[in-house]
Amino acid sequence: MKRPLAGLALGFMLQPLMALASSEATTQQFTLDNGLKVIIHEDHRAAVVHSQLWYRVGSNYEPPGQSGLSHALEHMIFKGSSKLCAMESDHIFQSLGITDNAATQSDATIFFQTVPPHALAVALEVMADQMSTALLPAAHWEGEREIIKNERIENIDNNPQQRALELSRSMAFPASASGSPVIGWMHDLERMHIDELKHWYQSWYAPNNATLIIVGDVDAEQVKALATRYFGPIDRRDLPAIKPPLELPAAGERTIIQYIEHQTPGLTMMFNVPSLSTQTDLRTAPALELLSELLGGGDSSALKSRLLRTEELLVAVDSHYSGISRGDEVLSISAILNLEKLRPLTEVQERILAVIDSLKHTPPSTVDLERARTRIIARHVFSRDDLQNLALYFGELDIAGLSSEQDDHRMQILKAITPEDIQYTAKTFLTRDRLTVSHVLPKETRHE
């Protein structure tokens, strides 16, 4: 990320961006001759437009030794292009009342602005210029590297939970770069050279590797004209071969124990599972979404009612799964232990597995399943209230290679999932040989 934006980068990773019916008349999609895909959604509730340019490149595209390349490139894009001096776009945007930022995730790099409708053309021309003529000046790289290192120290190294998550994710994805940290390992940042960034830019910043998403108070025809005018002249380029990150279905149970200063004991459990893109049975991803909701979604979920409230072993527990991904995924459960009733992590882990096992032995009650389903469907409506989230959702779907029809279909399947589907899915996927367990303990308690 260019600058801290509460929750956004994390949101991509940890929060399911819930579905919405995108096949309405107000959403349009087309592709320019050079391959740039454009998605436009009109919503005239307020005089604002959210514009986002999504590139299909992120940390899971990066080879070993070059972790953090996509994120560093995102920072350097602002250091000048044919029509812009370094950081000039910030000043232009600011003077027009445009707020902008950028974010990198494992499978995408996103540049986004919130724009007064009359100034949308400026945002598009700036992004088009950055797509085609970024200068990536060597003289700016050393300084920017320091900013990125600060970002890493502030957000990862000084944050015990993020530190623990970074390493355990890299274990949960042994066969792909999906577990590679978005910001990059510190030693890779130290040895990153500007020429690598230039090569990365040449490889991936092409119109045929990007999607422009415009949501808000716009006229679709005018947006089409603007997008064609500013992005149309950019040439299509050959792209490197793109292969979705696939994982070993059952790599074996993996455990990592980390002792970190200033940490409350906690654990994360990640199960290797398919996504909507890699599932072989259309019920798998919708069932996993419901399973995650049943386990640790709302306050009435199984883990929260049993382990947090009844047994009081935990002070926080959450479960997360999003099937919207171009490669394999994990269903993850994170828990923080109750220091007032402190039990060994191994014991707590077994209690969590016992709750999961109960769903393997007995299907969930119809009432419990309906409640989980109702929550997901209600969020489907609620998520349309915030247009920036709606735009991000369109982007997530597109990056995962999913059409809005496929997304509608997924909701239809979700409505038809039975208690037996849940039981079968738990038995098949929430198994020990798909499990990565991360224990985090305070450094002081280490006995050697």
């Binding site: 307020a46 604002v48 232009i92 027009l96 210029d129 003289a139 600060n150 306050d299 002070v315």
Partner: protein, 496 residues
């Protein structure tokens, strides 16, 4: 690239020059004109076509149609009808924040956290199942001035009616069960342990102590281990009876409802609350003693907090201070603090300043993290930037840019139901007029550089800051020089 060697103000001048042509603004600062002429020449073939073509029309703002009335029991209601999505938001705001804690820090927060733990015939699990089975979200939170309880639900009457019935019970007739109290106390005690390991939280708590002394804002809303452990069920009940009354409540409603439906909702909720008047307003704090406090903490980064008492929500200078602050460090990239500390020197990932107007005077605060060995130099740099800004005020261009930025981002303040219900809650709670947002916007657009400078100086003094730092004690290094000219070798001499 020649423009990398150009002085910084020249780069600013470039965009100003383009805007002069496009928007008809007249710049009187000769320095900027000269610089921008030079750059204009150098870059004439490159400038953004879209900027030149901007027709200069001001961003439109759709005024909210806010309806307001009082319930029979005395709750103030604010309502905006929004039919686009089949959902609604209900937000109750009570003057029941930690400033009402008196001698029991944490009482307000614990009362708020216990609302959804039990009602007649339902325990916490049944309440959660009740809301979640309807797809409804219940939310709660307690802060220094206020405590909030909210409901987001589908507007369909089959879902809405049972969700509202449960919400009215939870907010108006909570039973405060003993087993829940023990569990939530444990969670709070665990979070205190957690906080001991968070230098940012430690620094912030210390700063409020320094700023507010014996004032009710001095203690953190979540209290402390001793105070939380001592709180009884009777205290919670007494606090609820005093502070969750209809007379002490503001009811904000936004969504897919008619006026009649909103009136029925407000009447139902208000009637469910304890009867009683509004609590007394929080008194103003006295001036703190300036100076620096250091918290020793074994981290790589040092947290720096610089603060002074700011303003209350009624202060007539709010618009001038908000605009003045947006130029200093209000969050964007082009602010003075962000430009000097991050862009030119790479000392931090982010640096921000802000006023928090509250019922009584809230803090003005600058916060950032930097590497421990550069913390002293960075603190001095930030203090110098503030002093320079107070002494000289904003430039005309900075002010014009800030006004346009405000005008452009202003529609966001009411762009979603969630945003609108938050605005309504604040307007009702702080007794702001219904056209408050429009008035604030108009006042901001009419300000001059002198007015902004005067307002900033009336409320802030560079030498009266209360400073709290949290980090390790390590040998200090000089700051790197600013990189206006990044092609030159660093000289290793600090600028200040």
């Amino acid at each position: 690239m020649s423009e990398r060697k150009a002085p910084r103000f020249a780069l600013l001048g470039l965009s100003a020059a383009i805007l002069v042509g496009a928007l008809g603004y007249f710049l009187t600062n000769p320095e900027q004109s000269v610089a921008s002429q030079a750059l204009d020449q150098a870059k004439s073939e490159h400038k953004l076509q879209s900027l030149a073509e901007l027709d200069g029309k001001a961003p439109s703002h759709r005024a909210l149609n806010v309806q307001t009335w009082k319930t029979a029991e005395g709750s103030k209601v604010l309502f905006v009808e929004a039919r686009q999505l089949p959902m609604f938001d209900l937000r109750l705001t009570f003057a029941a924040g930690s400033s009402q804690d008196e001698n029991t820090p944490g009482l307000a927060l614990l009362t708020n956290a216990m609302l959804n733990e039990g009602v007649a015939g339902k325990d916490v699990g049944a309440i959660a199942q009740g809301f979640e089975g309807l797809g409804a979200d219940f939310g709660n939170g307690a802060y220094r001035d206020m405590a909030v309880a909210s409901l987001r639900s589908l507007s369909d009457v089959d879902k809405r009616t049972p969700a509202l019935n449960l919400f009215a019970e939870v907010v108006g007739k909570p039973t405060f069960p003993a087993d829940s109290l023990a569990r939530i106390k444990n969670q709070l005690l665990a979070s205190f342990e957690f906080q001991k390991q968070n230098p940012g939280k430690l620094a912030s708590d210390e700063l409020f102590k320094r700023l507010y002394g014996n004032h009710p804002y001095a203690h953190a809303s979540d209290g402390n281990a001793q105070s939380i452990a001592s709180i009884t069920i009777d205290q919670l009940k007494a606090f609820h009876n005093k502070a969750y009354t209809a007379g002490n409540a503001v009811i904000a409603i936004v969504g897919d409802l008619s006026r009649a439906e909103a009136e029925a909702i407000a009447a139902q909720v208000s009637a469910a609350l304890p009867k009683g008047p509004a609590v007394a307003k929080t008194v103003q704090p006295s001036e703190p003693k300036s100076g620096e406090t250091h918290i020793e903490f074994p981290s790589k980064q040092t947290h720096l907090l610089l603060s002074q008492l700011g303003i209350d929500r009624d202060d007539p200078d709010y618009a001038a201070l908000a605009l003045g602050n947006s130029i200093l460090g209000g969050g964007g990239f082009g602010t003075r603090l962000m430009t000097e500390v991050r862009e030119k020197r790479g000392l931090t990932y982010g640096v921000y300043s802000g006023f928090s107007p509250m019922q009584a005077r809230g803090p003005f605060m600058i916060n950032l993290q930097t590497r421990a060995e550069l913390s002293e130099g960075t603190l001095k740099l930030v203090q110098d930037i503030l002093a320079d800004y107070l002494k000289n005020g904003p430039t005309q261009k900075e002010l014009d840019d800030a006004k346009r930025e405000l005008a452009g981002s202003f529609p966001l303040s009411t762009a979603s139901n969630a945003a609108i219900v938050g605005q309504l809650g604040a307007m009702g709670f702080y007794d702001l007029p219904l056209d408050y947002l429009e008035t604030f916007m108009q006042k901001s657009q009419d300000l001059t550089t002198e007015q902004v400078k005067d307002a900033m100086n009336k409320h802030l003094s560079a030498d009266k800051m209360v400073v709290v730092t949290a980090g390790p004690t390590v040998p200090q290094k000089p700051l790197p020089p600013p990189t206006d000219k990044p092609s030159e070798q660093p000289l290793g001499v600090p600028e200040h």
